[in-house]
C-alpha cells in the first residue's frame, strides 16, 4: 500500500510504544485474577452444557457453588479434576449430578497437581481439537468458495426469532452481503450467564445462545454453498458472559466477534477490572479460533463530538491493538473500528472522513479495519441518509477498508426492513464496483487539507496516549477520556465476580492457547 498522508513514522512509533505501556499496565491488573465468567468458560470448554430444573446453566450452578464458599481462587479446573479422579465420570455427568445435589465438588479426596492435570487432559484436548477442526473447516470454505471483494459488506439481522433471522440472513447473502451479524437482545450484556437453546423471542435482537449460533452457522453455510461465496457470521463477545460467548463462538465457527477493550466499561457500566480479565481470556479464545475481533471505537463518536474526538478513536485503536496482541491475536485478526460520523452538513466534511479512514489504513496496515456507517446525524430523511451512506461507501472503497458495516436508509427510525438491507447492499455494490481502484489512482496534495487533518489527529492521539500511559488506563477512564464518560475502578457491575488467584490456580486452556506448556499443538 502506498502511503499518501506523509505521516511522521517516528510519531506513530511513539504512539505505539505509549499504547504498549498502557497495555502492560492493564496486563498487570489481569494476571493475578480470574472471574466467575472465566471459570464458567473453562467448564464449557471441558464439555459442560445444559441447564438445571430452574433453567440455570450448569456452568453457573457449579461456579456459583464454589464462589459462595470462596473456593474459586484455585480455579474450577482444580475441583473438576479431583472429582473426575474420584468418580471416574466425565465433566458433563459430574455437572449434572452436582446440579441435582448428588455430588459435591468440594467433598473429594486430595490429589497431586500432576494427577489433576492428567485427569483433565483428554477433555482439554477434545475441546481444543474441536476448535481447531472448526478453524480448518473455515479455511477450507474460504479456499473453495472464496469471499466477496474488499470491503466486505456487513449487514445486521435482528428479528428476535433465530429462524426468521436465518431467512433474512439468507436473503441478504443472496442480495450480495458478505458478513451477517445477529444483533443481541437488548441488555443481554448485563446477564451474568448465557441463555440456553434456540430462542424465538427477543427485545430488539436475538439472544446469543450456542444453539442459535449453530442454527445460523448452518443457514449461512447452506446459502454460501448455493451462491458460491463464504458468508461470515458475527456475534457479540462482550458483557458479563464475554469469555463464555467467545468459547461458544469458537465451537460453532463464528468468524468475527465484537470485542472492544472499553465498550462494556463505558457504555454498559461493567466494572473495568472484570472487563479486562474477561476480555483477555476471550481474546485468547478468539485468537486460537482464528476469529477476527471487531473493536468499537465508533461508539465514542456517538456520545462525543466526532470532529473534536477523532483522536480518541485513533488512541483507542492503538490500545486495542496492543491489548489484542498481548492476548495472542494476530494483526490480521484485529478488526479495529472507526466511523464515518461527521455532520454531513459540514463543509469539506467528506475530506476529513477520508483523512481519518486513510490514516487508520496507513497506521494499521495489516488490520482488517472495520468501518462504521453514519448514525449520529441521520434524521429519518431516508433519501438523504441513503445518499450519505453512498458517500460513506465511496470513502470505504477509496481508503481500502476491509469490513464495511452498511448504513441503512432507515437509520434513526427502526430496525431495517428487509428491503432496506437490499437497498444498502445495492448502494455499496454500485459505488464500490464503480470506483474499485480509485485509491490506486489518487494521491493527496502535500500539506493539503487531507494530509494536514490526518497529521493533526495523529499529533493529538500521541499526546493523549502519552498522558494515559502516565495515568494508567483505569484513571484515564475514570477521568472521562473516552466518549466523555467517566467510570470508577471499583464501580460498575460484576466486580463481585472477580477473584484473586491462589498460587496453585490453573486454567488449562489458557496455558495451551498461549503455548505456555511444552509441546502444545498450535493452531495452524
Amino acid at each position: 500500500m502506498e502511503k499518501k498522508l506523509n505521516l511522521d513514522q517516528e510519531k506513530i512509533e511513539r504512539a505505539r510504544r505509549a499504547a504498549a505501556s498502557v497495555a502492560e499496565g492493564v496486563m498487570e491488573e489481569i494476571k493475578p485474577r480470574t472471574t466467575v465468567a472465566v471459570e464458567r468458560t473453562i467448564l464449557r470448554l471441558l464439555g459442560v452444557d445444559g441447564i438445571d430444573e430452574a433453567e440455570i446453566p450448569l456452568p453457573n450452578v457449579l461456579v456459583e457453588k464454589l464462589h459462595a464458599v470462596q473456593a474459586l481462587p484455585c480455579g474450577v479446573a482444580h475441583w473438576m479434576g479431583r472429582t473426575i479422579l474420584a468418580t471416574g465420570k466425565n465433566p458433563q455427568e459430574i455437572a449434572r449430578e452436582v446440579a441435582e445435589g448428588n455430588l459435591d465438588l468440594l467433598d473429594q479426596p486430595l490429589y497431586s497437581n500432576e494427577e489433576i492435570r492428567g485427569a483433565l487432559e483428554p477433555y482439554v484436548r477434545e475441546g481444543l481439537e474441536w476448535i481447531r477442526e472448526q478453524r480448518r473447516r473455515r479455511a477450507k470454505f474460504l479456499e473453495t468458495l472464496g469471499t466477496g471483494p474488499r470491503p466486505l459488506l456487513y449487514v445486521i439481522v435482528a428479528t428476535g426469532d433465530i429462524y426468521e433471522d436465518v431467512i433474512q440472513a439468507k436473503s441478504a447473502a443472496e442480495q450480495g452481503a458478505d458478513i451477517v451479524a445477529v444483533i443481541r437482545s437488548t441488555a443481554q450484556s448485563l446477564l451474568d450467564y448465557v441463555p440456553y437453546g434456540a430462542t424465538r423471542e427477543g427485545f430488539g435482537g436475538t439472544f446469543a445462545t450456542q444453539e442459535n449460533f449453530r442454527i445460523m452457522r448452518q443457514g449461512l453455510d447452506e446459502i454460501g454453498e448455493e451462491i458460491g461465496r463464504y458468508i461470515y457470521l458475527v456475534n457479540y463477545c462482550s458483557g458479563l458472559a464475554m469469555p463464555e460467548i467467545a468459547a461458544m463462538g469458537a465451537l460453532e465457527r463464528l468468524d468475527m466477534m465484537l470485542n472492544d477493550a472499553m465498550y462494556g466499561i463505558l457504555f454498559r457500566d461493567i466494572n473495568m477490572q472484570r472487563t479486562f480479565i474477561d476480555q483477555h481470556f476471550s481474546r485468547m479464545i478468539n485468537g486460537y479460533a482464528g476469529i477476527i475481533i471487531n473493536t468499537g471505537e465508533d461508539n465514542y463518536l456517538t456520545t462525543a463530538d466526532p470532529y473534536e474526538a477523532a483522536h480518541t478513536v485513533l488512541a483507542s485503536q492503538f490500545i486495542n491493538e496492543q491489548l489484542g496482541l498481548r492476548s495472542g491475536l494476530a494483526n490480521e485478526q484485529l478488526g479495529l473500528g472507526h466511523a464515518f460520523e461527521l455532520d454531513p452538513d459540514k463543509e469539506d466534511g467528506w475530506l476529513l472522513e477520508v483523512a481519518q479512514a486513510q490514516m487508520a489504513r496507513e497506521i494499521f496496515p495489516e488490520a482488517p479495519l472495520k468501518y462504521m456507517p453514519p448514525t449520529k446525524y441521520m434524521t429519518g430523511d431516508i433519501f438523504k441518509t441513503h445518499l450519505v451512506d453512498g458517500m460513506f461507501n465511496l470513502a470505504g472503497v477509496l481508503t481500502g477498508q476491509e469490513i464495511q458495516l452498511l448504513g441503512m436508509l432507515t437509520e434513526a427510525i427502526h430496525t431495517p426492513h428487509i428491503h432496506d438491507r437490499t437497498m444498502a447492499i445495492d448502494n455499496a455494490r454500485y459505488i464500490m464496483n464503480n470506483a474499485r481502484h480509485l485509491g490506486e489512482e489518487i494521491f493527496f496534495k502535500p500539506e493539503g487539507r487531507i494530509q494536514k487533518r490526518a497529521q493533526q489527529v495523529l499529533d493529538e492521539a500521541l499526546e493523549m496516549l502519552g498522558k494515559i500511559s502516565e495515568l494508567g488506563l483505569p484513571r484515564a477512564i475514570n477521568e472521562g477520556w473516552f466518549g466523555g464518560i467517566s467510570r470508577a475502578p471499583k464501580g460498575g457491575k460484576g466486580l463481585e465476580g472477580v477473584v484473586e488467584k491462589e498460587e496453585n490456580y490453573f486454567n488449562p486452556f489458557m496455558e495451551e492457547m498461549s503455548g505456555e506448556r511444552e509441546g502444545s499443538p498450535h493452531a495452524d
Binding site: G160, Y163, E164, I167, Q168, D381, I382, T410, I413, H417
Partner: protein, 255 residues
C-alpha cells in the same frame, strides 16, 4: 416458517407486521399541524400505528413527509390468476444462431406506437440499436430486419407497411393511455387485420407498462409483454413462435 398464502401481508422486518413506507408532500406549512395532517391522511388510507418519521419544509407553503404505518389489509394469493408469456430467454448470440440454423432467413419485424400515443420509450427499448439495460435492441441483431415506424402511427398505415416489407411480426407499443383509449385502438388493429384476411399472416405482439399477456390474448393478440421486458425475451419469443409455426405448417403440407 409456514406462509399463509390466503393472507399475505406486507413484510417489514417480521412476518405479518404489515409495515408500509410512504412519502408524499402536502400543500401545507411545515409544522405540527402538517405532521398531524400527514398522519390523518395515512390513517384514512387504512394504515395503523402511524409514525411520521421525517418531515421538512419545501417552501411556498409546501411540506414533505416520510410516514410508516401498519397495513391491516391482506391478499389471498390463491385467488390470483395471472398468465404470462413463458419464454426461457436466450441471449443475443443464441437467438441469432437459432434463427440462422432453424429458420434459415432473417425475420422481419415492424414496430410502432399506434393511435395517439407519442411515447416511444418502450418501443425504442425493444427495437433500437442501443437497446435497454445493456441488452441490444432488435435492430442490432443480424437475423432481424427491424422497422421502427415511431409514434402516432395510424393502424392502416402500420398494416400497409407490414404488407409492403413482408413482415413476420407486428409489434405495437402502448405507453400512455387515457380513458382506456389504448384498448379501443388495439381492438381496432385486430379488427382491421381480420377484415382484410391478414391476421394469420403476422405474429401480433403488444407491449407496454399496463399490458399483460392475459389482456393481450383477450384482445386477439398473440402475446403481451409488460413492464421490465428486455429485448432478448421478445426476440426469443418471436424466434421460437415462428419456428414452431413453420414446423406446424410444413407438417400440414406434408400430410
Amino acid at each position: 416458517m409456514q406462509i399463509d398464502e390466503k393472507r399475505i401481508r406486507a413484510y417489514g422486518d417480521t412476518f405479518n407486521d404489515g409495515m408500509i413506507q410512504l412519502s408524499f408532500s402536502l400543500p401545507v406549512e411545515h409544522g405540527p399541524k402538517g405532521d398531524e395532517a400527514a398522519r390523518i391522511l395515512a390513517g384514512k388510507m387504512g394504515l395503523e400505528e402511524l409514525e411520521v418519521a421525517f418531515s421538512r419544509d419545501l417552501g411556498q407553503g409546501f411540506s414533505y413527509y416520510i410516514v410508516y404505518g401498519r397495513c391491516p389489509a391482506y391478499v389471498d394469493l390463491t385467488q390470483i390468476q395471472v398468465s404470462q408469456v413463458e419464454v426461457d430467454a436466450m441471449d443475443y448470440y443464441e437467438i441469432n444462431r437459432f434463427i440462422e440454423e432453424r429458420i434459415g432467413r432473417p425475420l422481419v419485424v415492424v414496430g410502432a406506437c399506434t393511435g395517439t400515443d407519442a411515447h416511444t420509450v418502450g418501443l425504442d427499448a425493444i427495437m433500437n440499436m442501443k437497446g435497454y439495460a445493456g441488452e441490444y435492441g432488435l435492430e442490432r441483431y443480424p437475423q432481424f430486419h427491424a422497422y421502427n415506424l415511431g409514434s402516432q402511427v395510424p393502424n392502416p398505415d402500420l398494416i400497409g407497411r407490414a404488407v409492403e416489407v413482408e413482415a413476420d411480426v407486428i409489434l405495437v407499443s402502448q405507453v400512455v393511455t387515457q380513458k382506456n383509449v389504448h384498448l379501443e385502438n388495439l381492438t381496432n388493429l385486430v379488427e382491421l387485420l381480420e377484415a382484410e384476411g391478414l391476421r394469420e399472416r403476422f405474429l401480433l405482439i403488444v407491449g407496454g407498462p399496463r399490458i399483460s399477456h392475459e389482456m393481450a390474448l383477450e384482445l386477439g393478440f398473440d402475446a403481451g409483454f409488460g413492464p421490465g421486458t428486455l429485448p432478448p425475451e421478445v426476440a426469443t419469443y418471436i424466434a421460437q413462435e415462428i419456428y414452431r409455426g413453420q414446423r406446424r405448417d410444413s407438417g400440414k403440407s406434408g400430410e
